[in-house]
Amino acid sequence: MDDLFSRRLIPSPQALESAVGEETVLLHLGNDTYYGLDEVGTRIWTLLGEGAALPAIRDRLAEEYDADAATIEADMRRFLADLLAHGILVDA
């Protein structure tokens, strides 16, 4: 399996979303599971939906949140692995 950051991930066609406040509620139609994204998760979700690559998203977040890129990447890896495990994200 390629390293996560070399993969191109997109929202699953089975995932529906609703923007609520600064957060996002997702529904996976295949397993009737709901998923809530906080503000930063919502930002990543938006950028993924725009087709951004993972390294570019990491760098963008590091700039927007004035945070260390390595820390951002570690958090992103946990977050993305979670979404992949639940089928919310899929490989393009």
Binding site: A19, G21, E23, Y34, G41, F79
Partner: protein, 320 residues
């Protein structure tokens, strides 16, 4: 950053059940115990409800269940047909194209008409595009309503009935149509009635009786429904307070309020992805416009006045 998995908040799961059997085409007669006016009141003016034998139905599994007693499946082919069944009552074949509902395989004729208003009508309204929430409701001020949302048996109808007895008009109970729009939302009942479990019914309305053992007590609300649907000013979500010593209402994130609305919404064909998406968007729009609160309190009738005070406290910043 977090992606909070909301796994406990699944929709009801499937459970195996035998599909309705085939039946021969037969005659039909009118809906027992209910009038055309009841259907109009429920928002299904122009629909016909008949009772007869089921047409031949293709075999197939139920694709959805509420986890208790109600099952649904979409029949293959056109025109669109959805079959709904509730154990111990019967089945309904809903044909949205010709605005008709055929009741068949009825096991309890006396409850069939009420079942249409209570269970079938809310699902049909949802199918037609409304967001219909399983909730209690009360009006703390003229033209303003609150919703009480929560799992079955948690006490939302009991609380709504208590608030009603304390002078807050009840626009309805159990199935509430919530319409977002204009930066807010309005709410109306599918049917103007309170439905209470027998223990709550005997406590709050001692003279009322359930239609049969195990069924809820039904209290018709006096007077016509409000001419204009009241504005929805707050959503109170029950749960998490079983061990609570006190009564409290705490602000709830809009995303959680959205989730509670979707979890407690009616659907005729819950497996329909387009309509699931619409419900999610509608719930999100309502949650964005209307504040939500988590309401926790001990399950004790004697504490209900304190619950009312907690609600009033939460509404202090909302009702202007």
């Amino acid at each position: 950053m977090t992606g909070r998995p909301l796994l406990p908040d699944r929709l009801p799961r499937l459970r195996p059940a035998a599909p309705a059997g085939d039946g021969a085409q037969g005659g039909a007669d009118r809906l027992p115990g209910r009038s055309t006016a009841d259907l109009v009141l429920a928002g299904l003016g122009g629909w016909t409800v008949t009772r007869g034998e089921a047409p031949p139905l293709p075999p197939g599994p139920w694709t959805w269940s509420d986890g208790r007693s109600t099952f649904a499946r979409r029949l293959p082919g056109e025109p669109e047909r959805i079959l709904l069944r509730t154990d111990f009552i019967g089945s309904a074949l809903v044909r949205p194209g010709d605005r008709s509902i055929l009741l068949h395989d009825l096991l309890d004729e006396g409850l069939a008409g009420q079942w249409v208003v209570d269970q079938v009508a809310p699902r049909v309204l949802s199918h037609l595009g409304d967001l219909v929430i399983h909730a209690g409701a009360a009006m703390p001020a003229d033209g303003a309503a609150i919703l009480v949302v929560g799992p079955s048996g948690r006490g939302k109808s009991t609380l709504a009935a208590f608030l009603h007895q304390q002078g807050w008009p009840a626009p309805g109970d159990d199935a509430m149509v919530v319409r977002p729009g204009g930066g807010g939302a309005t709410v109306r009942s599918v049917y103007p009635r309170l439905k209470l479990r027998q223990d709550s019914g005997s406590r709050l309305y001692p003279a009322a009786a359930a239609p049969s053992p195990g069924w809820k007590v039904s209290i018709d609300l006096p007077g016509p429904p409000p001419a204009a649907a009241p504005r929805l000013v707050a959503i109170f979500c029950l749960g998490g307070g079983e061990g609570a010593a006190g009564c409290r209402a705490e602000p709830l994130a809009a995303s959680r309020t959205c989730l509670e609305l979707v979890r407690n919404s009616y659907a005729l064909d819950p497996a329909d992805p387009g309509r699931a998406g619409l419900r999610l968007r509608q719930a999100g729009e309502v949650a964005n416009a209307v504040p939500g609160f988590r309401l926790a309190y001990p399950r004790d009738y004697a504490r209900l006045p304190e619950v009312r005070e907690a609600i009033l406290g939460a509404l202090a910043g909302v009702l202007r």
